[in-house]
């Protein structure tokens, strides 16, 4: 059975159908990509899974148990942690305090040691007492990641973790996410515009466009799918994914990721 199962989820905002009967599974231990042009509904899907949004219809299950009855603040206790496309740090707090909030559900005693442990993992121990808001953008993303990791999640949702990184850093991030998956025994659902990154580390990829799932499969299958190529060509905010893995060299990139992600909607 899949760890996470999204079934026929529909969510409308007024006239906009942000998610239109979307279904996909995330298998335990895998890195699962979720891609699609801007406004496709990826962040909305994250918000539904973490219960920030309530879908109009459909089901979301973790290990076969419905998440829709779970209060949003209890989601993390179920083992789901996330990062945000537009950084949501606690801006008046230090790096350490941010991570300690991530450990809120772990109770009092263990949390400080745990926080330092994950700060080591993301390489921010030296910055523990630094005000989080004063750090560069890319480092703030690492604080968010540490905050998500400290709760020891089973499922980690990453919303455009490569935003604001340069090419070299994006490459390192791919290796890092894999290592996290192995070391923390995670399942990862990854939303990302950097096709190289998604295609090189994902075991499985789901593609959304205008709120519908238009394809899913291995990275190779998805990149060869005419519907996917069509969806990316039909918009000008992101280049199409490379048609084959061979073409997925460092030169293949897309412009959307270079602009700083601004708002939750695209």
């Amino acid at each position: 059975m899949a760890l996470l199962s999204v079934r026929d989820v529909t969510l409308r905002f007024g006239g906009i159908v942000a998610l239109d009967g979307v279904s996909f599974d995330v298998e335990e231990g895998q890195i699962s990509g979720l891609i699609g042009p801007n406004g496709a509904g990826k962040t909305t899907a994250f918000n539904v899974i973490t219960r920030l949004y309530k879908p109009d219809s459909g089901a979301v299950e973790l290990d076969g148990a419905s998440l829709l009855k779970v209060s949003p603040h209890v989601i993390i206790r179920k083992g789901i942690a996330r990062t945000f496309q537009n950084i949501q740090l606690f801006r008046t707090m230090s790096v350490l305090e941010n991570v300690l909030i991530g450990a809120h559900t772990l109770g009092r005693k263990v949390s400080e040691d745990e926080a330092f442990r994950v700060l080591d993992v993301v390489g921010l121990r030296e910055r523990a007492y630094f005000p989080a808001a004063a750090l560069p953008y890319g480092i703030q993303k690492r604080v968010e990641l540490a905050r998500a990791l400290v709760s020891k999640p089973r499922l980690l949702l990453l919303d455009e973790p490569a935003g604001g990184l340069n090419h070299e850093e994006v490459g390192e991030l791919g290796t890092f996410i894999r290592k996290l998956r192995d070391d923390f025994e995670l399942t990862v659902l990854l939303v990302e515009h950097h096709m190289n990154l998604v295609m090189s580390i994902s075991d499985h990829v789901n593609v959304l466009s205008f709120g519908r799932k238009i394809a899913d499969g291995s990275p190779e299958q998805v990149q060869a799918d005419p519907a996917v190529i069509e969806a990316y060509l039909g918009t000008d905010d992101a280049a199409p994914p490379p048609a084959s893995p061979e073409q997925a060299g460092p030169a293949a990139q897309e412009p959307a990721a270079d602009e700083p992600p601004s708002e939750e909607r695209a």
Binding site: I101, R108, R127, A134
Partner: protein, 358 residues
Amino acid sequence: MTPREKRIAGFVAFGALVVAVAVFPAFVSDFKAREWAYVGIYLIALLGLNMLTGYTGQISLGHGAFMAIGGYTTAILMAGNEQFGGPISGGMKDIYTLPLAGLVAGAVGLAFGLPALRLSGLYLALATFAVAVAMPSTARRFAEWTGGGQGIQLSGLPELTGGSVEDVDILGLSLSPNRWLYYLSWSIALVAYAVAWLVLRGRTGRAFRAVRDSETAAISSGVSLARYKTLAFGISAAFAGVAGGLFALGTASVSPDVFPITLSIFLLVGVVVGGLGGLSGLVFGAIVITFLPLWAQGQDLGSLLPQGIVEETQKPGGSSIVFGVVLILLMFVLPNGVSGLFRRAGQAIAKRRYARSE
């Protein structure tokens, strides 16, 4: 600053405050000591409101009402309300009523916090202000409990320590009523300061600030907004209730006029001037809201302001104009309040360290 340095700085600041409070009356007149007792009383209320507005980010323009609830609780427990046809016979010694004043106000605060969960920003400000506005007429309406517009007199009651005219003998000292009020208020204020510090320094305080900084990230980190917002409302109302009880002892009476609508506004001003979020600046905030209105009454601003406005300030109630002008100036000079000044110094130190460690 590291937590260790912060803790040390906190202890030093608190120790200095304790010493200053203890010796201060030796240097001022008996009457001045009474004014400074009110600084302590306001400080208690500000410590509570700061937890709600400063730390948790929930604005309240109604905390004067929670003070009133505390004040009436104290007065009713001391004097009873049988004389108005109410059910309570009174007779409780003044200082014993104060914890109950806190409990009653805290319970009302918790109850109010629940519906307030659905409100934020301006709407919460309006809803809490509505409570402040409704308070005087509510007190008049339930006259058999509150004595209506006349209120409840405490002066001369045996339950009021010293009856507010005789010297008070305590711990081998003989204190004038004014000094007694001073030491009572400040002892409780210092305890309140320590309690606030303990609540805010750990997991609870962090959760409060998480709610203020990003509700979205707080929820996703497992912080229940409902729990922490109502908790903040409850604790802050309890602090206001204790302050209100002391206020009643200070004025030796309660009535709708003792807790006017402006009290709520003053409290919010005190928290803003003190600097939303820190504790140390609140002492300054309490000083400002105690003395600025008094000082403003006696000011001739002829050389500073246009003649028309000066005439306005000389009319009854005109001192609030002076009060307002000075407040606006303060906001310009200290946009983040007095604690903000301390915080900026702390951040400058942190930045230098970051630069060095690069």
